[in-house]
């Protein structure tokens, strides 16, 4: 731990000079009431210098706060160690998208300060860079300002409860939570059929068998056995496709690279992460398999799997999905497991995501396009910017109108508050019979 030493402050020097001048002036003009005005200033400066920090001042330590914090709050703890002669510590604490906060705190003993800020953003952030300067009494001596590096934190997306979600056209697997069209072990009655090798004895329907035997032989002999067959159960395969090529906030003026989106405004990627995490949790809790693909990166996708650990794996990949430079234009859509339900989260600000959706649909996948563009705030736009945005908005609207014509179902996911509309729309899609 590197430490720093204290030096006299400009203010202390000026106060001492002013006090001394008042003393001299009062003595020269023979006015002790004037001379005594300088006494407190001189005495305070002298006292402060004599009791200044005599030992090196240790650097404060910043660590992530322990315990569970409410959703949307990022917190850390700053440990300030007491040092001889240090009376106060001046702190400047920063946070992404926030103005720095400055405080002067007492530090005559070891103490721990909690730092926090609220955010609706997700992903990885470097938070709480701290600048500090320790002062002695009367601020007569102070250490040079030093910095404590920010700590990286990962903010996982929230998940929203969903009631019912659409399934792919074709269910796969030999077991699961959904009824398939294949005969097998399940719950719902499919038909009554002749006993064949492989059928379980407990599935023999003796009542039907007896009735049939009586009809064919006049009740004299039992020649054929009949079994009750049920629909087999199966699980669904869902591929969540994130379009991380761009990240835009509600403020259209910040869509360029010059200005960062605010921390209290969810960006398109935050909404996409939240939607994808909610869907992944819902499908995985029901025993289905979910995978993930990123249109903004050419790395290997997360292969479909199930279970709680896989949900954590998906969440980690979701928070790592950030725009990286200018991704190469894809010539063909990423290969996805056959029969999988494709859920595409995108802003649809360009043609690529929509083109991929149409290609996947034409390949036989059921495709759901989730529109994650935040509600645009155009209040601060210049006239030319407003015209450009209007053109962009019309192109996007036309693009989204064209998707249903190709068989792609479109759902909008909003970011503010509990969002029943997306859940209702998805539940409606779950009940819709779609032609394959």
């Amino acid at each position: 731990m590197r430490s720093v030493t204290a030096l006299p402050t400009e203010g202390a020097v000026l106060r001492a000079i002013a006090g001394a001048l008042l003393l001299i002036f009062g003595g020269v003009v023979g006015r002790p009431d004037v001379a005594v005005l300088g006494a407190p200033l001189l005495a305070a400066a002298g006292w402060g210098w004599l009791r200044r920090p005599s030992a090196p001042v240790p650097r404060p330590r910043l660590r992530a706060a322990s315990g569970v914090h409410r959703t949307g709050e990022v917190a850390a703890e700053l440990e300030i160690a007491a040092a001889p002669g240090v009376e106060t510590v001046r702190l400047r604490v920063g946070a992404p998208g926030h103005r720095p906060a400055q405080v002067v705190v007492a530090s005559r003993r070891d103490r721990t300060l909690r730092l926090a800020f609220d955010t609706v953003r997700t992903g990885r952030l470097d938070v709480f860079p701290v600048d500090y300067a320790a002062s002695g009494p009367e601020d007569a001596a102070r250490t040079a300002p030093r910095s404590v590096p920010a700590i990286p934190v990962t903010l996982l997306p929230r998940t929203r409860p969903l009631r019912e979600l659409p399934l792919p056209f074709r269910l796969q697997g030999l077991t699961g939570g959904h009824d398939s069209r294949r005969a097998g072990d399940g719950g719902d009655l499919r038909d009554v059929n002749l006993f064949t090798p492989g059928d379980r004895l407990r599935r023999i329907d003796w009542r039907v068998t007896a009735r049939r035997a009586g009809a064919s032989t006049g009740g004299a002999a039992l020649t054929d056995l009949y079994v009750r067959r049920t629909f087999a159960t199966a699980d669904a395969t869902v591929m969540l496709v994130i379009d991380s090529r761009d990240e835009v906030g509600p403020d259209v003026g910040s869509w360029g690279d010059l200005e960062q989106p605010r921390q209290d405004d969810a960006t398109s990627l935050d909404i996409a992460r939240e939607a994808a995490a909610s869907l992944a949790q819902h499908y995985l809790e029901r025993g289905d398999r979910a995978g993930m693909e990123d249109l903004g990166r050419s790395r290997a996708p997360v292969v479909p799997a199930g279970g709680r650990r896989h949900l954590h794996r998906l969440l980690q990949r979701l928070v790592l999905a950030v725009p990286e430079g200018s991704p190469a234009r894809r010539v063909r859509p990423p290969h996805l497991p056959s029969g999988a339900l494709v859920v595409l989260f995108s802003t649809f600000l360009d043609d690529e995501a929509a083109t991929m959706a149409v290609l996947w649909r034409s390949a036989g996948h059921r495709v759901i396009a989730v529109d994650v563009l935040p509600a645009a705030d155009t209040g601060a736009l210049q006239p030319m910017q407003a015209v450009a945005f209007e053109i962009l908005r019309l192109e996007r609207a036309e693009r989204l109108r064209g998707l249903p014509r190709s068989g792609v179902e479109v759902v909008r996911w909003e970011s503010d508050g509990p969002d029943p509309e997306a859940a209702i729309a998805l539940a409606a899609l779950a009940r819709t019979r779609v032609r394959r």
């Binding site: 720093v4 030096l7 006299p8 009376e87 106060t88 009367e138 590096p149």
Partner: protein, 234 residues
Amino acid sequence: MSGPRAAARATAERTLGGAAARRVRLLRAVGRERPRPHPRIETGPSVPVGFLRVLQAIVGLGCTAVVATSDVQWLFTVLALVAGLVWPAPLWLAVLPLSWGAGLAALPLGPISAEAPLLLAGLHLYVVLGTAAGRMPPAGRVEWAALAPTAVRFVALQATAQLVGWAAGMLRERDVAAPGVAIVAAALLAAAAWWAAGHLQRADAGDQPGRRPARGEDREPNRGDDGWSYHLDA
């Protein structure tokens, strides 16, 4: 936008009215923008720096009311206080006390007066408040616990100084000259100047001049106007 229309628009933007309209749009946009929040620092009970500054200005006006005999003195004080609010530099903590000392010397007061003790307390309080506020922004906060030792010292120094002032007034009333005060004060000033020059020189040179910090090591940044600064190559 077509070529002639774009040219006309560009010409309109270059005119005085066009420039004014552009600034009006900019101001509207700035007005609509929500201020970015501050991160929370959970300290003990604290007081905003803006409150300390306002209190300091009120004390400064009170000090001026004690010694002011002309409008020029009022104008100077108000200008200095406003400048101190806008640009809180330590310079104002030295300039105004000197002006008040000069104003007190210009007053034809008797050896025992009410003005001198009042100014002694007000001047000291003005300096203490200004020191506590420092160069922090108005939204900054100062913990009460950080002010407590200063308050104790303020009371102790005031008690001593008021006692010394009263004793000096009594001596003056009995026509006892004290020329040694000027000599002692001059010696103190010389010592303070020598001390300040030496240490400010060290402060400018840094702790260890000529040593370049290694990469990743804690480095001393350049000081900005507000006393803080950032590492440019972090």
